[in-house]
Protein backbone atom coordinates (compact mmCIF):
# COMPACT_ATOMS: atom_id res chain seq x y z
CA UNK A 1 0.00 0.00 0.00
CA UNK A 2 2.70 2.47 1.13
CA UNK A 3 4.97 1.35 -1.70
CA UNK A 4 2.20 1.53 -4.30
CA UNK A 5 0.96 4.98 -3.34
CA UNK A 6 4.15 6.75 -2.37
CA UNK A 7 7.40 4.92 -3.04
CA UNK A 8 6.62 3.44 -6.47
CA UNK A 9 5.47 6.71 -8.09
CA UNK A 10 8.40 8.57 -6.52
CA UNK A 11 10.84 5.94 -7.72
CA UNK A 12 9.47 6.10 -11.26
CA UNK A 13 9.58 9.90 -11.32
CA UNK A 14 13.16 9.81 -10.06
CA UNK A 15 14.11 7.22 -12.68
CA UNK A 16 12.27 9.19 -15.38
CA UNK A 17 14.23 12.33 -14.49
CA UNK A 18 17.45 10.30 -14.43
CA UNK A 19 16.67 8.94 -17.89
CA UNK A 20 16.06 12.49 -19.09
CA UNK A 21 19.08 14.24 -17.64
CA UNK A 22 21.39 11.18 -17.77
CA UNK A 23 22.76 11.99 -14.34
CA UNK A 24 21.50 10.60 -11.06
CA UNK A 25 23.01 13.39 -8.95
CA UNK A 26 21.22 16.09 -10.94
CA UNK A 27 18.08 13.95 -10.88
CA UNK A 28 18.15 13.88 -7.05
CA UNK A 29 18.48 17.68 -6.95
CA UNK A 30 15.69 18.21 -9.51
CA UNK A 31 13.44 15.72 -7.78
CA UNK A 32 13.99 17.42 -4.42
CA UNK A 33 13.08 20.77 -5.96
CA UNK A 34 10.02 19.20 -7.57
CA UNK A 35 8.86 17.85 -4.21
CA UNK A 36 9.45 21.28 -2.64
CA UNK A 37 7.34 22.84 -5.38
CA UNK A 38 4.51 20.34 -4.95
CA UNK A 39 4.49 20.79 -1.16
CA UNK A 40 4.77 24.58 -1.43
CA UNK A 41 1.09 25.24 -0.56
CA UNK A 42 1.52 23.24 2.63
CA UNK A 43 4.70 25.07 3.53
CA UNK A 44 3.12 28.45 2.79
CA UNK A 45 0.16 27.58 4.99
CA UNK A 46 2.50 26.50 7.75
CA UNK A 47 4.42 29.78 7.55
CA UNK A 48 1.19 31.78 7.63
CA UNK A 49 -0.12 29.88 10.65
CA UNK A 50 3.17 30.19 12.50
CA UNK A 51 3.27 33.91 11.82
CA UNK A 52 -0.32 34.41 13.04
CA UNK A 53 0.29 32.36 16.16
CA UNK A 54 3.44 34.29 17.00
CA UNK A 55 1.68 37.57 16.49
CA UNK A 56 -1.19 36.52 18.69
CA UNK A 57 1.12 35.30 21.44
CA UNK A 58 2.97 38.63 21.42
CA UNK A 59 -0.20 40.68 21.64
CA UNK A 60 -1.06 42.61 24.85
CA UNK A 61 -4.38 40.81 25.07
CA UNK A 62 -2.73 37.41 25.11
CA UNK A 63 -0.22 38.51 27.71
CA UNK A 64 -2.93 40.04 29.81
CA UNK A 65 -4.86 36.82 29.65
CA UNK A 66 -1.79 34.80 30.63
CA UNK A 67 -1.17 37.09 33.58
CA UNK A 68 -4.76 37.13 34.67
CA UNK A 69 -5.28 33.38 34.70
CA UNK A 70 -1.77 32.28 35.60
CA UNK A 71 -3.08 30.49 38.69
CA UNK A 72 -6.07 28.91 36.99
CA UNK A 73 -4.85 26.61 34.29
CA UNK A 74 -8.27 25.34 33.38
CA UNK A 75 -9.64 28.82 32.81
CA UNK A 76 -6.48 29.84 31.02
CA UNK A 77 -6.83 26.94 28.58
CA UNK A 78 -10.47 27.83 28.03
CA UNK A 79 -9.75 31.50 27.39
CA UNK A 80 -6.82 30.68 25.17
CA UNK A 81 -8.93 28.40 23.01
CA UNK A 82 -11.59 31.09 22.85
CA UNK A 83 -9.00 33.57 21.61
CA UNK A 84 -7.69 31.08 19.06
CA UNK A 85 -11.21 30.54 17.80
CA UNK A 86 -11.88 34.26 17.50
CA UNK A 87 -8.60 34.78 15.69
CA UNK A 88 -9.28 31.70 13.53
CA UNK A 89 -5.87 30.40 14.47
CA UNK A 90 -5.50 26.66 14.74
CA UNK A 91 -2.91 25.77 17.40
CA UNK A 92 -2.07 22.65 15.37
CA UNK A 93 -2.17 24.63 12.16
CA UNK A 94 1.55 25.21 12.02
CA UNK A 95 2.48 21.57 12.56
CA UNK A 96 -0.25 19.84 10.55
CA UNK A 97 1.24 20.77 7.16
CA UNK A 98 4.57 19.54 8.47
CA UNK A 99 3.04 16.24 9.52
CA UNK A 100 1.56 15.80 6.07
CA UNK A 101 5.02 16.34 4.58
CA UNK A 102 6.60 13.55 6.65
CA UNK A 103 5.35 10.71 4.42
CA UNK A 104 6.48 12.65 1.38
CA UNK A 105 9.97 13.10 2.78
CA UNK A 106 10.17 9.47 3.89
CA UNK A 107 8.89 8.37 0.47
CA UNK A 108 11.53 10.47 -1.24
CA UNK A 109 14.21 9.01 1.02
CA UNK A 110 13.06 5.46 0.34
CA UNK A 111 12.85 5.98 -3.40
CA UNK A 112 16.42 7.32 -3.49
CA UNK A 113 17.55 4.27 -1.49
CA UNK A 114 15.71 1.94 -3.87
CA UNK A 115 17.16 3.53 -7.00
CA UNK A 116 20.69 3.12 -5.63
CA UNK A 117 20.22 -0.68 -5.63
CA UNK A 118 23.52 -2.27 -4.66
CA UNK A 119 22.73 -5.97 -4.69
CA UNK A 120 21.05 -8.25 -7.24
CA UNK A 121 18.09 -8.63 -4.89
CA UNK A 122 17.64 -4.87 -4.68
CA UNK A 123 17.93 -4.63 -8.46
CA UNK A 124 15.28 -7.32 -8.89
CA UNK A 125 12.93 -5.45 -6.58
CA UNK A 126 13.67 -2.15 -8.28
CA UNK A 127 13.07 -3.55 -11.75
CA UNK A 128 9.65 -4.80 -10.64
CA UNK A 129 8.69 -1.33 -9.42
CA UNK A 130 9.29 0.30 -12.78
CA UNK A 131 6.16 1.20 -14.73
CA UNK A 132 5.89 -0.53 -18.14
CA UNK A 133 6.24 2.72 -20.09
CA UNK A 134 9.79 3.17 -18.77
CA UNK A 135 12.31 0.82 -20.38
CA UNK A 136 14.12 -0.71 -17.41
CA UNK A 137 16.91 -2.09 -19.59
CA UNK A 138 17.87 1.47 -20.57
CA UNK A 139 17.62 2.89 -17.04
CA UNK A 140 19.18 0.18 -14.89
CA UNK A 141 21.56 0.20 -13.26
CA UNK A 142 21.61 3.89 -12.45
CA UNK A 143 25.00 5.56 -12.79
CA UNK A 144 25.93 6.47 -9.23
CA UNK A 145 28.93 8.58 -10.18
CA UNK A 146 28.39 12.34 -9.71
CA UNK A 147 31.21 14.90 -9.61
CA UNK A 148 33.80 13.27 -7.32
CA UNK A 149 31.19 11.17 -5.53
CA UNK A 150 29.94 7.65 -5.70
CA UNK A 151 26.36 8.31 -4.67
CA UNK A 152 26.02 4.76 -3.34
CA UNK A 153 28.89 5.25 -0.88
CA UNK A 154 29.66 7.77 1.88
CA UNK A 155 31.38 10.76 0.27
CA UNK A 156 35.00 11.80 0.81
CA UNK A 157 36.98 14.20 -1.35
CA UNK A 158 40.56 12.96 -1.22
CA UNK A 159 43.01 15.86 -1.06
CA UNK A 160 46.65 15.01 -0.45
CA UNK A 161 45.72 11.50 0.68
CA UNK A 162 43.18 12.76 3.22
CA UNK A 163 39.49 12.10 2.70
CA UNK A 164 37.49 15.25 3.45
CA UNK A 165 33.73 14.78 3.92
CA UNK A 166 32.79 17.91 1.95
CA UNK A 167 29.14 16.97 1.55
CA UNK A 168 28.79 16.21 5.26
CA UNK A 169 30.27 19.62 6.12
CA UNK A 170 27.84 21.32 3.72
CA UNK A 171 24.89 19.40 5.17
CA UNK A 172 25.87 20.36 8.74
CA UNK A 173 26.35 23.98 7.72
CA UNK A 174 23.09 24.32 5.80
CA UNK A 175 21.12 22.47 8.50
CA UNK A 176 22.49 24.90 11.08
CA UNK A 177 21.79 27.93 8.88
CA UNK A 178 18.30 26.66 8.17
CA UNK A 179 17.61 26.15 11.87
CA UNK A 180 18.87 29.61 12.70
CA UNK A 181 17.38 31.79 10.01
CA UNK A 182 14.14 29.95 9.39
CA UNK A 183 13.08 29.49 13.02
CA UNK A 184 10.07 31.66 13.88
CA UNK A 185 10.52 34.48 16.37
CA UNK A 186 10.03 33.48 19.97
CA UNK A 187 6.68 34.01 21.67
CA UNK A 188 8.33 35.14 24.88
CA UNK A 189 10.92 34.37 27.46
CA UNK A 190 10.71 30.87 28.82
CA UNK A 191 8.76 29.87 25.74
CA UNK A 192 8.91 26.07 25.50
CA UNK A 193 8.92 26.11 21.72
CA UNK A 194 11.84 28.53 21.71
CA UNK A 195 13.79 26.31 24.06
CA UNK A 196 13.06 23.31 21.88
CA UNK A 197 14.08 25.20 18.75
CA UNK A 198 17.35 26.20 20.40
CA UNK A 199 18.08 22.62 21.37
CA UNK A 200 17.13 21.35 17.91
CA UNK A 201 19.44 23.89 16.30
CA UNK A 202 22.27 22.30 18.20
CA UNK A 203 21.47 18.62 17.72
CA UNK A 204 19.93 18.55 14.24
CA UNK A 205 23.10 19.58 12.36
CA UNK A 206 25.04 16.94 14.28
CA UNK A 207 22.48 14.23 13.60
CA UNK A 208 22.17 15.11 9.92
CA UNK A 209 25.95 15.31 9.71
CA UNK A 210 26.31 11.83 11.20
CA UNK A 211 23.77 10.40 8.76
CA UNK A 212 25.53 12.09 5.83
CA UNK A 213 28.93 10.92 7.04
CA UNK A 214 27.93 7.27 7.31
CA UNK A 215 25.22 6.69 4.68
CA UNK A 216 25.29 6.79 0.89
CA UNK A 217 26.16 10.26 -0.39
CA UNK A 218 23.06 10.26 -2.59
CA UNK A 219 21.11 10.89 0.60
CA UNK A 220 23.50 13.61 1.73
CA UNK A 221 23.01 15.26 -1.65
CA UNK A 222 19.27 15.15 -1.07
CA UNK A 223 19.67 16.70 2.42
CA UNK A 224 21.83 19.47 0.99
CA UNK A 225 19.44 20.22 -1.88
CA UNK A 226 16.49 20.15 0.51
CA UNK A 227 18.17 22.50 3.01
CA UNK A 228 19.19 24.99 0.33
CA UNK A 229 15.71 24.88 -1.23
CA UNK A 230 14.07 25.46 2.17
CA UNK A 231 16.29 28.45 2.94
CA UNK A 232 15.57 29.97 -0.46
CA UNK A 233 11.85 29.27 -0.08
CA UNK A 234 11.64 31.02 3.29
CA UNK A 235 13.84 33.87 2.07
CA UNK A 236 11.51 34.48 -0.86
CA UNK A 237 8.58 34.61 1.55
CA UNK A 238 10.46 37.09 3.72
CA UNK A 239 10.41 34.90 6.81
CA UNK A 240 14.12 34.40 7.32
CA UNK A 241 16.14 36.38 9.83
CA UNK A 242 19.75 36.49 8.67
CA UNK A 243 20.75 38.74 11.57
CA UNK A 244 20.85 35.59 13.70
CA UNK A 245 23.97 34.43 11.90
CA UNK A 246 25.18 37.66 10.25
CA UNK A 247 25.56 40.29 13.00
CA UNK A 248 26.03 43.18 10.55
CA UNK A 249 22.47 42.73 9.31
CA UNK A 250 19.77 44.63 11.22
CA UNK A 251 17.56 42.30 13.23
CA UNK A 252 14.01 41.80 12.11
CA UNK A 253 11.18 42.94 14.37
CA UNK A 254 9.91 40.22 16.68
CA UNK A 255 6.46 40.62 15.25
CA UNK A 256 5.74 40.97 11.59
CA UNK A 257 4.32 44.45 11.00
CA UNK A 258 1.80 43.43 8.40
CA UNK A 259 -0.61 41.71 10.74
CA UNK A 260 -2.61 38.77 9.53
CA UNK A 261 -5.03 39.10 12.41
CA UNK A 262 -7.81 41.60 13.08
CA UNK A 263 -6.55 44.49 15.26
CA UNK A 264 -9.35 43.94 17.78
CA UNK A 265 -7.93 40.58 18.70
CA UNK A 266 -4.54 42.00 19.49
CA UNK A 267 -5.76 44.90 21.59
CA UNK A 268 -6.52 44.91 25.26
CA UNK A 269 -10.18 45.65 25.83
CA UNK A 270 -10.77 49.31 26.85
CA UNK A 271 -12.10 48.40 30.27
CA UNK A 272 -9.00 46.50 31.26
CA UNK A 273 -5.67 47.96 32.36
CA UNK A 274 -2.61 47.44 30.18
CA UNK A 275 -0.19 45.08 31.83
CA UNK A 276 3.32 46.34 32.33
CA UNK A 277 5.57 44.22 30.15
CA UNK A 278 8.30 42.46 32.04
CA UNK A 279 11.85 43.33 31.03
CA UNK A 280 12.58 39.87 29.74
CA UNK A 281 9.44 39.71 27.62
CA UNK A 282 9.39 40.78 23.98
CA UNK A 283 7.72 44.08 23.27
CA UNK A 284 4.15 44.13 22.01
CA UNK A 285 3.27 44.27 18.36
CA UNK A 286 3.69 47.51 16.48
CA UNK A 287 0.05 47.64 15.55
CA UNK A 288 -1.12 47.09 19.10
CA UNK A 289 1.33 49.69 20.28
CA UNK A 290 0.00 52.29 17.87
CA UNK A 291 -3.57 51.56 18.89
CA UNK A 292 -2.77 52.01 22.52
CA UNK A 293 -0.86 55.22 21.78
CA UNK A 294 2.04 54.10 23.83
CA UNK A 295 5.06 56.40 24.02
CA UNK A 296 7.26 56.20 20.90
CA UNK A 297 10.34 55.08 22.88
CA UNK A 298 8.50 51.91 23.85
CA UNK A 299 7.94 50.86 20.25
CA UNK A 300 9.90 48.07 18.76
CA UNK A 301 12.73 49.28 16.54
CA UNK A 302 12.30 48.56 12.89
Amino acid sequence: MWDTIIVQPFTNILLGITLGVKNFGIAIILFTLLIKLVTYPLTAKQIKQTRAMTELQNSPRYKKMMEKYKDNHEKLAEERMKLYREAKVNPAGSCLPSLIQIPIILGLYQSIIKVMAATPLELIKLERMIYPFLDSSKILPVQNHFLWMDLGQPERLVVGGIGIPVLTILVVLTTWIQGKVVAPPSGGAGDQAAAMTKSMNLYMPLLMGWISFTLASGLALYFLASNVATIIQYSVQGTTDWSKILPFIKPKPAVVPASTLPASLLEIPDDEPIPEPKKSEPKPSARAAVKQQRPPQKRKKK
Binding site: A118, K125, H145
Partner: protein, 346 residues
Protein backbone atom coordinates in the same frame (compact mmCIF):
# COMPACT_ATOMS: atom_id res chain seq x y z
CA UNK B 1 9.04 17.19 11.66
CA UNK B 2 12.72 17.33 10.88
CA UNK B 3 13.52 15.68 14.18
CA UNK B 4 11.14 12.81 13.56
CA UNK B 5 12.36 12.35 10.03
CA UNK B 6 15.98 12.51 11.14
CA UNK B 7 15.36 9.91 13.81
CA UNK B 8 13.78 7.58 11.28
CA UNK B 9 16.66 8.12 8.88
CA UNK B 10 19.18 8.00 11.69
CA UNK B 11 18.07 4.53 12.59
CA UNK B 12 19.58 3.40 9.32
CA UNK B 13 22.91 5.05 9.92
CA UNK B 14 24.42 2.27 11.98
CA UNK B 15 25.91 0.25 9.14
CA UNK B 16 25.82 -0.61 5.46
CA UNK B 17 22.32 -0.51 4.05
CA UNK B 18 21.72 -3.44 1.74
CA UNK B 19 19.32 -6.29 1.29
CA UNK B 20 20.89 -9.45 -0.01
CA UNK B 21 20.52 -13.18 -0.24
CA UNK B 22 22.66 -16.00 1.17
CA UNK B 23 25.75 -16.68 -0.93
CA UNK B 24 26.39 -20.42 -0.98
CA UNK B 25 29.41 -22.52 -1.96
CA UNK B 26 30.15 -26.12 -1.10
CA UNK B 27 32.52 -29.01 -1.42
CA UNK B 28 31.94 -32.62 -0.42
CA UNK B 29 32.70 -32.06 3.24
CA UNK B 30 31.17 -28.66 3.94
CA UNK B 31 28.93 -25.86 2.79
CA UNK B 32 29.96 -22.22 3.18
CA UNK B 33 27.37 -19.50 3.46
CA UNK B 34 27.80 -15.72 3.50
CA UNK B 35 24.86 -13.96 5.02
CA UNK B 36 24.54 -10.67 6.81
CA UNK B 37 27.22 -10.42 9.52
CA UNK B 38 28.91 -13.80 9.16
CA UNK B 39 30.45 -16.37 6.89
CA UNK B 40 29.53 -19.86 8.13
CA UNK B 41 31.18 -23.19 7.51
CA UNK B 42 28.60 -25.95 7.92
CA UNK B 43 29.36 -29.63 8.13
CA UNK B 44 27.84 -31.25 5.02
CA UNK B 45 26.92 -34.50 6.74
CA UNK B 46 25.46 -33.19 10.00
CA UNK B 47 24.34 -29.67 9.07
CA UNK B 48 26.11 -28.21 12.12
CA UNK B 49 28.20 -25.07 12.31
CA UNK B 50 31.95 -25.72 12.17
CA UNK B 51 33.02 -22.09 12.46
CA UNK B 52 31.86 -18.61 11.71
CA UNK B 53 33.79 -15.53 10.65
CA UNK B 54 34.15 -13.06 12.27
CA UNK B 55 33.58 -14.50 15.70
CA UNK B 56 31.51 -11.53 16.84
CA UNK B 57 29.11 -9.47 14.77
CA UNK B 58 29.85 -5.94 13.64
CA UNK B 59 27.25 -3.55 12.25
CA UNK B 60 29.80 -2.37 9.68
CA UNK B 61 30.62 -5.79 8.25
CA UNK B 62 28.08 -7.52 6.01
CA UNK B 63 28.60 -10.52 3.73
CA UNK B 64 26.49 -11.44 0.71
CA UNK B 65 29.14 -12.55 -1.82
CA UNK B 66 29.35 -16.35 -2.06
CA UNK B 67 32.70 -17.59 -0.72
CA UNK B 68 35.23 -19.08 -3.12
CA UNK B 69 36.75 -22.35 -1.90
CA UNK B 70 40.20 -23.27 -3.24
CA UNK B 71 43.43 -24.79 -1.99
CA UNK B 72 42.37 -24.89 1.64
CA UNK B 73 41.32 -21.24 1.58
CA UNK B 74 38.03 -19.37 1.68
CA UNK B 75 38.13 -16.14 -0.30
CA UNK B 76 35.31 -13.74 0.46
CA UNK B 77 34.63 -10.02 0.20
CA UNK B 78 32.36 -7.93 2.41
CA UNK B 79 30.43 -4.66 2.51
CA UNK B 80 33.15 -2.99 4.57
CA UNK B 81 35.14 -2.86 1.29
CA UNK B 82 37.48 -5.65 2.41
CA UNK B 83 38.43 -8.89 0.71
CA UNK B 84 39.79 -11.61 2.94
CA UNK B 85 41.47 -14.97 2.73
CA UNK B 86 40.50 -17.38 5.52
CA UNK B 87 41.67 -20.85 6.41
CA UNK B 88 38.90 -23.24 5.37
CA UNK B 89 39.95 -25.44 8.29
CA UNK B 90 39.28 -22.99 11.12
CA UNK B 91 38.20 -19.66 9.63
CA UNK B 92 41.30 -17.82 10.82
CA UNK B 93 42.28 -14.82 8.70
CA UNK B 94 45.22 -15.31 6.42
CA UNK B 95 45.22 -11.80 4.94
CA UNK B 96 42.88 -8.91 4.21
CA UNK B 97 42.95 -6.73 1.12
CA UNK B 98 41.48 -3.34 1.98
CA UNK B 99 42.26 -1.05 -0.96
CA UNK B 100 38.82 -1.31 -2.55
CA UNK B 101 36.46 1.63 -2.24
CA UNK B 102 33.21 -0.25 -2.66
CA UNK B 103 31.34 -3.35 -1.61
CA UNK B 104 32.18 -6.89 -2.68
CA UNK B 105 28.91 -8.40 -3.87
CA UNK B 106 30.19 -10.87 -6.47
CA UNK B 107 31.82 -14.23 -5.92
CA UNK B 108 35.54 -14.17 -6.70
CA UNK B 109 37.28 -16.61 -9.04
CA UNK B 110 40.75 -18.08 -8.80
CA UNK B 111 43.06 -20.17 -10.96
CA UNK B 112 45.43 -20.92 -8.11
CA UNK B 113 47.80 -18.08 -9.04
CA UNK B 114 45.49 -15.10 -9.19
CA UNK B 115 42.27 -14.20 -7.45
CA UNK B 116 39.81 -12.09 -9.47
CA UNK B 117 37.57 -10.07 -7.14
CA UNK B 118 34.93 -7.83 -8.76
CA UNK B 119 33.75 -4.83 -6.75
CA UNK B 120 30.89 -2.34 -6.85
CA UNK B 121 33.41 0.54 -6.94
CA UNK B 122 33.65 -0.07 -10.72
CA UNK B 123 36.89 -2.02 -10.42
CA UNK B 124 37.86 -5.63 -10.82
CA UNK B 125 40.78 -6.38 -8.50
CA UNK B 126 43.25 -9.06 -9.46
CA UNK B 127 45.15 -10.23 -6.37
CA UNK B 128 48.06 -12.56 -5.99
CA UNK B 129 47.42 -15.46 -3.65
CA UNK B 130 49.35 -13.60 -0.94
CA UNK B 131 46.79 -10.78 -1.06
CA UNK B 132 48.93 -8.24 -2.92
CA UNK B 133 47.38 -6.36 -5.81
CA UNK B 134 48.43 -7.51 -9.29
CA UNK B 135 46.24 -5.24 -11.42
CA UNK B 136 42.85 -3.58 -11.63
CA UNK B 137 40.39 -3.24 -14.47
CA UNK B 138 38.02 -0.26 -14.33
CA UNK B 139 34.60 0.19 -15.85
CA UNK B 140 31.82 2.77 -15.72
CA UNK B 141 29.65 0.64 -13.42
CA UNK B 142 30.17 -1.83 -10.62
CA UNK B 143 30.41 -5.60 -11.01
CA UNK B 144 27.95 -8.11 -9.53
CA UNK B 145 28.87 -11.24 -11.48
CA UNK B 146 31.43 -13.94 -10.80
CA UNK B 147 34.29 -13.91 -13.33
CA UNK B 148 35.03 -16.99 -15.41
CA UNK B 149 38.65 -18.05 -15.85
CA UNK B 150 39.48 -20.18 -18.87
CA UNK B 151 43.20 -20.89 -19.16
CA UNK B 152 44.84 -17.45 -19.17
CA UNK B 153 41.74 -15.38 -19.92
CA UNK B 154 39.24 -13.83 -17.51
CA UNK B 155 35.73 -13.31 -18.86
CA UNK B 156 33.67 -10.91 -16.87
CA UNK B 157 30.13 -9.58 -17.12
CA UNK B 158 29.86 -5.89 -16.45
CA UNK B 159 26.93 -3.77 -15.35
CA UNK B 160 27.98 -1.30 -18.05
CA UNK B 161 26.42 -3.73 -20.60
CA UNK B 162 29.79 -5.14 -21.74
CA UNK B 163 31.18 -8.63 -21.73
CA UNK B 164 34.93 -8.29 -21.36
CA UNK B 165 37.89 -10.63 -21.89
CA UNK B 166 41.04 -9.78 -19.93
CA UNK B 167 44.54 -11.24 -19.90
CA UNK B 168 44.80 -12.79 -16.45
CA UNK B 169 48.48 -11.97 -16.03
CA UNK B 170 48.34 -8.31 -17.04
CA UNK B 171 44.71 -7.23 -16.97
CA UNK B 172 44.96 -6.09 -20.60
CA UNK B 173 41.66 -5.99 -22.43
CA UNK B 174 41.60 -8.68 -25.14
CA UNK B 175 38.16 -7.72 -26.35
CA UNK B 176 35.09 -5.93 -25.07
CA UNK B 177 31.64 -6.46 -26.56
CA UNK B 178 28.59 -4.34 -25.83
CA UNK B 179 25.42 -6.32 -25.25
CA UNK B 180 21.85 -5.31 -24.57
CA UNK B 181 21.35 -4.38 -20.91
CA UNK B 182 23.34 -4.75 -17.71
CA UNK B 183 25.01 -8.13 -17.18
CA UNK B 184 24.40 -9.36 -13.65
CA UNK B 185 25.47 -13.00 -13.98
CA UNK B 186 28.52 -14.88 -15.18
CA UNK B 187 28.70 -16.20 -18.74
CA UNK B 188 28.63 -19.96 -19.38
CA UNK B 189 31.67 -21.18 -21.32
CA UNK B 190 31.20 -23.98 -23.85
CA UNK B 191 34.61 -25.43 -24.67
CA UNK B 192 33.32 -27.42 -27.62
CA UNK B 193 32.15 -24.37 -29.53
CA UNK B 194 34.50 -21.85 -27.93
CA UNK B 195 31.40 -19.81 -27.12
CA UNK B 196 30.13 -17.84 -24.16
CA UNK B 197 26.43 -17.60 -23.32
CA UNK B 198 25.22 -14.81 -21.10
CA UNK B 199 21.85 -13.36 -20.12
CA UNK B 200 21.13 -9.75 -19.25
CA UNK B 201 18.70 -7.25 -17.78
CA UNK B 202 18.16 -6.22 -21.40
CA UNK B 203 15.87 -9.26 -21.68
CA UNK B 204 18.07 -11.21 -24.07
CA UNK B 205 20.40 -14.21 -24.02
CA UNK B 206 23.46 -13.74 -26.21
CA UNK B 207 26.07 -16.13 -27.59
CA UNK B 208 29.53 -14.61 -28.01
CA UNK B 209 32.68 -16.02 -29.60
CA UNK B 210 35.22 -16.40 -26.79
CA UNK B 211 38.21 -15.66 -29.05
CA UNK B 212 37.00 -12.54 -30.83
CA UNK B 213 34.08 -11.27 -28.77
CA UNK B 214 31.88 -11.38 -31.86
CA UNK B 215 28.17 -11.84 -31.20
CA UNK B 216 27.09 -15.19 -32.66
CA UNK B 217 23.37 -14.92 -32.01
CA UNK B 218 20.90 -13.35 -29.57
CA UNK B 219 17.61 -14.72 -28.31
CA UNK B 220 14.80 -12.57 -26.93
CA UNK B 221 11.83 -14.88 -27.57
CA UNK B 222 10.35 -12.37 -30.04
CA UNK B 223 10.46 -9.64 -27.44
CA UNK B 224 8.68 -11.75 -24.83
CA UNK B 225 11.72 -12.61 -22.71
CA UNK B 226 12.11 -10.96 -19.31
CA UNK B 227 15.39 -10.30 -17.50
CA UNK B 228 17.83 -13.18 -17.13
CA UNK B 229 19.45 -13.11 -13.68
CA UNK B 230 21.43 -16.35 -13.63
CA UNK B 231 24.10 -18.13 -15.64
CA UNK B 232 22.80 -20.55 -18.30
CA UNK B 233 23.88 -24.21 -18.22
CA UNK B 234 24.48 -26.77 -20.92
CA UNK B 235 23.05 -30.29 -20.87
CA UNK B 236 21.56 -32.76 -23.25
CA UNK B 237 22.80 -30.69 -26.21
CA UNK B 238 20.90 -27.58 -25.15
CA UNK B 239 21.84 -24.27 -23.63
CA UNK B 240 19.27 -24.00 -20.85
CA UNK B 241 18.23 -20.96 -18.84
CA UNK B 242 15.23 -19.34 -17.15
CA UNK B 243 14.00 -15.81 -17.42
CA UNK B 244 12.57 -13.89 -14.48
CA UNK B 245 8.98 -14.76 -15.33
CA UNK B 246 9.78 -18.47 -14.92
CA UNK B 247 9.97 -19.50 -18.59
CA UNK B 248 12.61 -22.18 -19.04
CA UNK B 249 14.18 -22.54 -22.48
CA UNK B 250 16.34 -25.20 -24.07
CA UNK B 251 18.07 -23.57 -27.06
CA UNK B 252 20.20 -24.93 -29.84
CA UNK B 253 23.65 -23.60 -28.89
CA UNK B 254 24.65 -23.20 -32.54
CA UNK B 255 21.90 -20.84 -33.66
CA UNK B 256 19.74 -19.99 -30.63
CA UNK B 257 16.64 -21.73 -32.01
CA UNK B 258 14.20 -23.05 -29.41
CA UNK B 259 14.34 -26.82 -28.91
CA UNK B 260 11.93 -26.81 -26.00
CA UNK B 261 10.30 -24.49 -23.48
CA UNK B 262 8.77 -25.02 -20.07
CA UNK B 263 6.97 -22.87 -17.53
CA UNK B 264 8.07 -23.04 -13.89
CA UNK B 265 4.80 -21.41 -12.84
CA UNK B 266 6.33 -18.51 -10.95
CA UNK B 267 9.23 -16.07 -10.86
CA UNK B 268 12.69 -17.59 -11.10
CA UNK B 269 15.89 -15.64 -10.52
CA UNK B 270 18.10 -18.55 -9.42
CA UNK B 271 19.96 -20.55 -12.02
CA UNK B 272 19.23 -24.11 -13.09
CA UNK B 273 21.22 -26.93 -11.50
CA UNK B 274 21.83 -29.88 -13.80
CA UNK B 275 22.06 -33.36 -12.20
CA UNK B 276 22.91 -36.64 -13.91
CA UNK B 277 19.64 -37.16 -15.76
CA UNK B 278 17.52 -34.39 -14.36
CA UNK B 279 17.69 -30.70 -13.51
CA UNK B 280 16.62 -28.56 -10.56
CA UNK B 281 14.59 -25.37 -10.81
CA UNK B 282 13.84 -23.25 -7.73
CA UNK B 283 11.22 -20.57 -7.87
CA UNK B 284 11.52 -17.40 -5.78
CA UNK B 285 8.63 -18.55 -3.62
CA UNK B 286 10.69 -21.55 -2.52
CA UNK B 287 9.13 -24.21 -4.76
CA UNK B 288 11.86 -26.66 -5.68
CA UNK B 289 11.16 -28.93 -8.65
CA UNK B 290 13.30 -31.56 -10.30
CA UNK B 291 12.54 -32.29 -13.97
CA UNK B 292 13.64 -35.18 -16.15
CA UNK B 293 16.14 -34.07 -18.77
CA UNK B 294 14.66 -36.34 -21.42
CA UNK B 295 10.99 -35.34 -21.35
CA UNK B 296 11.01 -32.38 -18.89
CA UNK B 297 8.42 -34.16 -16.74
CA UNK B 298 8.51 -33.19 -13.05
CA UNK B 299 10.11 -35.87 -10.89
CA UNK B 300 9.54 -34.38 -7.45
CA UNK B 301 8.62 -31.06 -5.90
CA UNK B 302 9.40 -29.70 -2.45
CA UNK B 303 8.75 -26.40 -0.74
CA UNK B 304 11.68 -24.62 0.85
CA UNK B 305 11.01 -22.66 4.03
CA UNK B 306 11.52 -19.15 2.61
CA UNK B 307 12.39 -17.34 -0.60
CA UNK B 308 15.16 -18.47 -2.91
CA UNK B 309 17.09 -16.14 -5.21
CA UNK B 310 20.42 -17.91 -5.57
CA UNK B 311 21.33 -20.96 -7.63
CA UNK B 312 21.33 -24.30 -5.77
CA UNK B 313 24.73 -25.91 -5.32
CA UNK B 314 25.50 -29.59 -5.83
CA UNK B 315 28.32 -31.13 -3.78
CA UNK B 316 28.71 -34.85 -3.26
CA UNK B 317 25.25 -36.33 -3.02
CA UNK B 318 23.52 -33.25 -1.69
CA UNK B 319 21.79 -30.19 -3.10
CA UNK B 320 22.38 -27.08 -0.98
CA UNK B 321 19.87 -24.26 -1.14
CA UNK B 322 20.42 -20.84 0.40
CA UNK B 323 17.15 -19.59 1.84
CA UNK B 324 15.99 -16.11 2.72
CA UNK B 325 13.51 -17.02 5.42
CA UNK B 326 13.23 -18.94 8.64
CA UNK B 327 16.25 -21.09 7.85
CA UNK B 328 19.53 -20.13 6.17
CA UNK B 329 20.49 -23.31 4.35
CA UNK B 330 18.76 -26.56 3.49
CA UNK B 331 20.34 -29.76 2.21
CA UNK B 332 18.36 -32.26 0.11
CA UNK B 333 19.46 -35.63 -1.18
CA UNK B 334 19.04 -36.42 -4.85
CA UNK B 335 15.69 -38.08 -4.17
CA UNK B 336 14.22 -34.93 -2.71
CA UNK B 337 14.52 -35.87 0.96
CA UNK B 338 15.38 -33.03 3.28
CA UNK B 339 18.61 -34.07 5.00
CA UNK B 340 18.93 -31.07 7.30
CA UNK B 341 18.13 -27.40 7.75
CA UNK B 342 20.60 -24.96 9.20
CA UNK B 343 19.61 -21.93 11.23
CA UNK B 344 22.48 -19.97 12.78
CA UNK B 345 22.63 -19.81 16.55
CA UNK B 346 23.17 -16.56 18.41
Amino acid sequence: MLALTALVLGGCAMGPRADGTPGVSADESAAYVSYQQFVYKIDAAAGTEVWRYPQSASAQVIFYAPPTIADGKVYVGDFANRFQSLSSENGIVDWIFSEAKGWFEAKAATDGTYIIAPNLDRNVYCLNVDGSLAWTYSSEFGFMAEPVIIEDVVYISSMDHHLVALDIATGDVLWKTKLNGALVSAPYYDAERGALFVGSMGKVLTAVDSQSGEILWAFNNNGELSSVWATPVMFDGNIVFTDESGKIFGLNPDDGSVNWALDAGGNVTAGILPLESSFVVVREDGTLTVYNMSDRAPVWTRTVDGEVYSTPVLAGDKIFIGVKGNVLLQAYDLNGNLVWSFTPGK
